[in-house]
C-alpha cells in the first residue's frame, strides 16, 4: 500500500514479470478432492498460446480446473504453475490474466462502465487509464452504446459480454472463460465467439470451457476433453468430428411459433426430421450437426421468428465420451 501521489504512469509498482520461457499454464499431476469426491485426478497439462477448448460434461472438472488456475482452491496434490508461479500462494500473475467466471451473479447495481473501471483499478490503473481502457474493451464487445446503463437491466448475453470485457481490460496474455456461451441468445453467441476467435488471432492464450462440442468447434480446433476428473483426450477436433457424423443428432429450438419456423428449417437439406415436443419447442434431427449449425442462424433470421434458445438435448459430447470410454460413460 504505497502512497501514489502523482497518479501517473501505468502501474504504481514495478510490473510483475514471469520467469523466462515459463509456459502460460502448467499442471503437473494435479488432483483435487472435495471430501470423498474426486474432482480432478492426476491432471497434467501444458498450454501456451492459441485458443483451447476445455470440453466436459457437468461435473467433469472444468470449473475445478479453472478454480485451481485462479488460486481459488488449493490442489490436493501436484503442482500448478501460472507463468511459472504457484497461483495459490501469489496473486501477482493475475496482472496478465483475464478471468470470466461462470457465476451469473454480478454487481447489478453498477453500470457496465463503472464495473469495468472499478476492477481495472485493481490492476493498478489510475482513474483516467481505467476509464480509457473500459471504453476500449466495451467497444471491443460491442456494448459502447449501453455502457452507462445498469448491469441489472442487461440480458444474459449482454452480461456475459460485460464479464468478458472486464477480463480484457488489463490486456491479458491469458484469458480464461468459464462457460461463456451458456444461456446466451444466438446473436450474443455469435458476438462472443467472434470475440474469442479474435483474441486467439491476436496471439493470446485463451481457454474456453463448454459442455457442447459444436460450440467449441466453431471457436477452435484445439480441444481438451475432461471426463470424471481426468484428461480423456487432447488434440484436434476434426478427428473427433469425423467419427461423430455417423450418429444422428437432435437440436432443440425454443421459439414463439414452432410450426411457422419448421417450414423454413425443412429447407435445410441436412435436416432429416422434425418433431414438436412441447409447446414452443421444435426438435430437429440430423446426421450432420455441424452443417446444420452453420446454416441455422441465417435461416432463423430470414424466417423472422424469435428464437430464445438453441440446445442439443442428446448431447454430442455424450456420444464422443461413449466412444472414447468404450461405452462406460
Amino acid at each position: 500500500m504505497m502512497p501514489d501521489v502523482s497518479q501517473q504512469g501505468k502501474m504504481e509498482t514495478e510490473e510483475w514479470r514471469p520467469a523466462e520461457n515459463a509456459p502460460v499454464i502448467m499442471f503437473d499431476r494435479v488432483s483435487k478432492t472435495y471430501g470423498r469426491i474426486n474432482a480432478l485426478n492426476s491432471v497434467s497439462l501444458g498450454i501456451s498460446g492459441g485458443v483451447t477448448g476445455i470440453l466436459g460434461m457437468n461435473g467433469a472438472g472444468k470449473s475445478t480446473l479453472f478454480k485451481l488456475m485462479m488460486g481459488k482452491v488449493r490442489p490436493s496434490s501436484g503442482a500448478i504453475r501460472l507463468f511459472g508461479v504457484d497461483p495459490w500462494k501469489n496473486p501477482a500473475p493475475y496482472s496478465r490474466v483475464g478471468f470470466v467466471p461462470e457465476h451469473e451473479k454480478m454487481h447489478d447495481w453498477m453500470t457496465a462502465f463503472d464495473f469495468i473501471v472499478t476492477f481495472a483499478r485493481l490492476h493498478g490503473m489510475t482513474r483516467d487509464e481505467a476509464a480509457k481502457e473500459a471504453s476500449r474493451v466495451l467497444d471491443f464487445v460491442s456494448l459502447s452504446d449501453v455502457m452507462h446503463k445498469r448491469i441489472g437491466q442487461f440480458s444474459k448475453g449482454m452480461r456475459q459480454r460485460v464479464k468478458i470485457a472486464h477480463a480484457l481490460v488489463n490486456d491479458p496474455e491469458l484469458i480464461i472463460l468459464d462457460e461463456p456461451l451458456q444461456g446466451c441468445d444466438p446473436l450474443a453467441r455469435t458476438t462472443i465467439m467472434n470475440v474469442i476467435k479474435e483474441l486467439g488471432a491476436m496471439g493470446r492464450t485463451v481457454l474456453v470451457s463448454s459442455h457442447i462440442l459444436h460450440e467449441i468447434e466453431r471457436i477452435t480446433e484445439q480441444i481438451v476433453i475432461l471426463h470424471k476428473g481426468r484428461v480423456l483426450a487432447l488434440g484436434n477436433s476434426h478427428a473427433i468430428r469425423e467419427m461423430l457424423d455417423q450418429h444422428p443428432h437432435k437440436i432443440a429450438l425454443e421459439c414463439e411459433n414452432p410450426r411457422e419456423l419448421a417450414k423454413s428449417i425443412i429447407k435445410i437439406e441436412e435436416v432429416t426430421g422434425m418433431s414438436f415436443a412441447e409447446e414452443n419447442k421444435l426438435l430437429i434431427e440430423t446426421k450432420h450437426l455441424g452443417e446444420v449449425h452453420k446454416k441455422l442462424p441465417k435461416t432463423i433470421i430470414e424466417s423472422g421468428i424469435k428464437v430464445t434458445s438453441i440446445d442439443n438435448p442428446d448431447d454430442d459430447l455424450q456420444s464422443i465420451l461413449m466412444y472414447l470410454t468404450g461405452g462406460s460413460a
Binding site: M1, P91, Y94, F119
Partner: protein
C-alpha cells in the same frame, strides 16, 4: 480533477478502488439504511425524554426542615434560629423583623465548594447563618478542625474514597433543581454515550454492515471478480474495512455532533452553549468509531470463517454486552473489562469525561452526600439521602482507573483498541488466505 480525486490520490490506487466500491455498494443496500435510520430514531426517542426532563422543574425539597414553623408563631424555624429566638416556643419570636415566607428557607444553603484535590480539603460556607448562630464554639465546630462552620473532605484516590465531615448546618439545604439538572444532563450524556452510542451503535453497525463484507461476496459468487486480480486477499479485507469505516465513521460523527448541539443548547448552564461537553462528546464519538472498527473487523472475520458467521457475531455481542454492563456499573473498578473491546471504549469515554468535566466525580460525591441528611445505622454509618440525579450520574460515571493521567489513559486505550483491530485483521486475513472459495 474533482475533490475526491485529490483526497483519495494520497492513497494507493487499489485501496481507493475497493473502498469506493464498498461505499457505493453500501448505498445500494437496504440494510445500510435500515440500521442507520433505526439508530437515529431510537436516539431521538431517548432524546425526547431528555428534553422533557430538562424542561421540567425539579421540586425543591427542604432538606433541613427549617422552613417549617414548629411553634406556629408565623416565623419559620430557620429565621427564628438566625434571629436567636426559640423555634419551639410560641411566645418567643423575633418581633423586630417581618416573618419570612417559608420558601426563603428552602434551598437556602447551596454548595459552594472549590475544586477538591487529593488529601484533606476545607470547603463550604454557611450561607443562611444557621451554623454561625449556634450557641457554643463546640457546636459550631462539630468536625473538630478548629474552623467553625466548614466541611472537611478527605479525598483518597488510592482507595477511591471520599469522606465528608461537615459542621452541622453547613451547605445543608442544596438546590435540587440546579443540582438535578446538571447531574441529569451529565448522566444522560454518559448513559446514552456509553450504552447507546459506544455499545449499541458500536455493535449494531458492524453486525449489519461488516459481517457480510466478505461473506456475501463469497455466497453470491461476486468475490471471483475481486480475487482474480493481482491483489492479496489480506489487502482485499483491509480495503473493504476501509470502505466500511468510510460509511460508519461519518455516521457516528454526525450522530454525536447533532446530539452535542441539541444537548449543548438545551442543557443547564449560564452560557448559551455548554462548551465543556464538547470533549466528552468527542471522546464518545472516538470510542464508538474505534469500537465499531474492532467489532467490524472481528465480525467480518466471522463471516469469512463460517457462512453463518452472524451467529458467532451475536454470541460475541452478548459477551460484550455483559462486559459493557460490568464496565459501566462498576465505574472502572473491575479488571475483567480489560478482556473485552467495550471495556477499553468505556475507558476512552471516562477519560474524556474526566478531561471535559474535571469536577464530575466531585459532583457525584456531593450529590450522594446531599447535604448530610440521613439515617444512622447500628454501626454508626450514615446512609445519606442523595439528591435527584446523583445516583444516575454515579452509575454512568466512571474512572479510567489505569493509574495514569487521563490523557495517557486516553492514548493507551486508543492504542489497545487499534492493536485489537490490527490483530482481528491479521487473523481474519490469515483465515481468508487459507480459504477455498468455490
Amino acid at each position: 480533477m474533482s475533490k475526491t480525486d485529490t483526497i483519495w490520490s494520497q492513497l494507493d490506487r487499489k485501496s481507493t478502488a475497493i473502498a469506493e466500491f464498498t461505499m457505493r455498494q453500501y448505498r445500494t443496500r437496504i440494510s445500510t439504511w435500515v440500521v442507520m435510520i433505526a439508530s437515529v430514531v431510537a436516539l431521538l426517542l431517548v432524546l425526547l425524554f431528555y428534553i422533557e426532563a430538562m424542561n421540567t422543574e425539579i421540586e425543591a425539597i427542604d432538606n433541613d426542615g427549617d422552613s417549617f414553623d414548629t411553634d406556629g408563631d408565623g416565623y419559620p424555624n430557620g429565621q427564628e434560629r438566625l434571629e436567636g429566638t426559640n423555634p419551639d416556643s410560641p411566645e418567643s419570636f423575633p418581633d423586630w423583623v417581618e416573618p419570612d415566607p417559608p420558601e426563603k428557607w428552602i434551598n437556602e444553603d447551596d454548595f459552594d465548594w472549590d475544586i477538591l484535590v487529593e488529601g484533606v480539603n476545607y470547603v463550604g460556607s454557611d450561607d443562611d447563618g444557621d451554623c454561625k448562630n449556634l450557641d457554643t464554639s463546640s457546636q459550631r465546630d462539630t468536625n473538630d478542625n478548629n474552623v467553625e462552620c466548614d466541611i472537611i473532605v478527605d479525598v483518597d484516590t488510592l482507595n477511591s474514597t471520599v469522606t465528608i465531615t461537615a459542621d452541622s448546618s453547613v451547605d445543608e439545604d442544596p438546590d435540587e433543581d440546579k443540582y438535578g439538572k446538571e447531574a441529569g444532563h451529565r448522566a444522560f450524556i454518559l448513559g446514552i454515550g456509553k450504552f447507546g452510542i459506544v455499545y449499541l451503535l458500536g455493535i449494531f453497525l458492524p453486525l449489519f454492515l461488516a459481517t457480510g463484507l466478505i461473506r456475501e461476496e463469497i455466497s453470491e459468487g461476486t468475490i471471483h471478480y475481486m480475487l482474480a486480480k493481482p491483489i492479496a486477499r489480506g489487502e482485499v479485507l483491509l480495503y473493504r474495512m476501509l470502505g466500511y469505516i468510510g460509511i460508519t465513521w461519518p455516521f457516528i460523527l454526525i450522530v454525536c455532533l447533532v446530539l452535542c448541539l441539541i444537548t449543548g443548547f438545551t442543557g443547564p448552564g449560564d452560557g448559551i452553549f455548554r462548551w465543556e461537553d464538547v470533549p466528552v462528546w468527542m471522546s464518545i464519538a472516538w470510542a464508538a468509531m474505534l469500537v465499531s472498527l474492532v467489532y467490524g473487523t472481528i465480525f467480518c472475520g466471522f463471516g469469512i470463517i463460517w457462512k453463518n458467521g452472524v451467529i458467532l457475531a451475536i454470541l460475541f455481542a452478548a459477551w460484550e454486552l455483559g462486559m459493557a454492563f460490568i464496565a459501566i456499573l462498576t465505574g472502572g473498578d473491575s479488571s475483567i473489562r480489560y478482556m473485552s473491546v467495550i471495556g477499553w471504549g468505556m475507558i476512552i469515554v471516562d477519560a474524556g469525561a474526566a478531561i471535559g468535566w474535571p469536577d464530575n466525580w466531585q459532583l457525584v460525591e456531593v450529590g450522594l452526600w446531599g447535604g448530610g441528611h440521613g439515617e444512622e445505622n447500628w454501626l454508626g454509618d450514615v446512609s445519606y439521602v442523595a439528591l435527584p440525579g446523583a445516583e444516575p450520574l454515579a452509575v454512568f460515571s466512571g474512572n479510567p482507573n489505569l493509574g495514569v493521567s487521563n490523557w495517557l489513559a486516553y492514548v493507551i486505550s486508543t492504542l489497545v483498541l487499534a492493536f485489537q483491530g490490527f490483530m482481528a485483521w491479521f487473523i481474519g486475513q490469515s483465515i481468508f488466505k487459507g480459504k477455498e472459495v468455490n
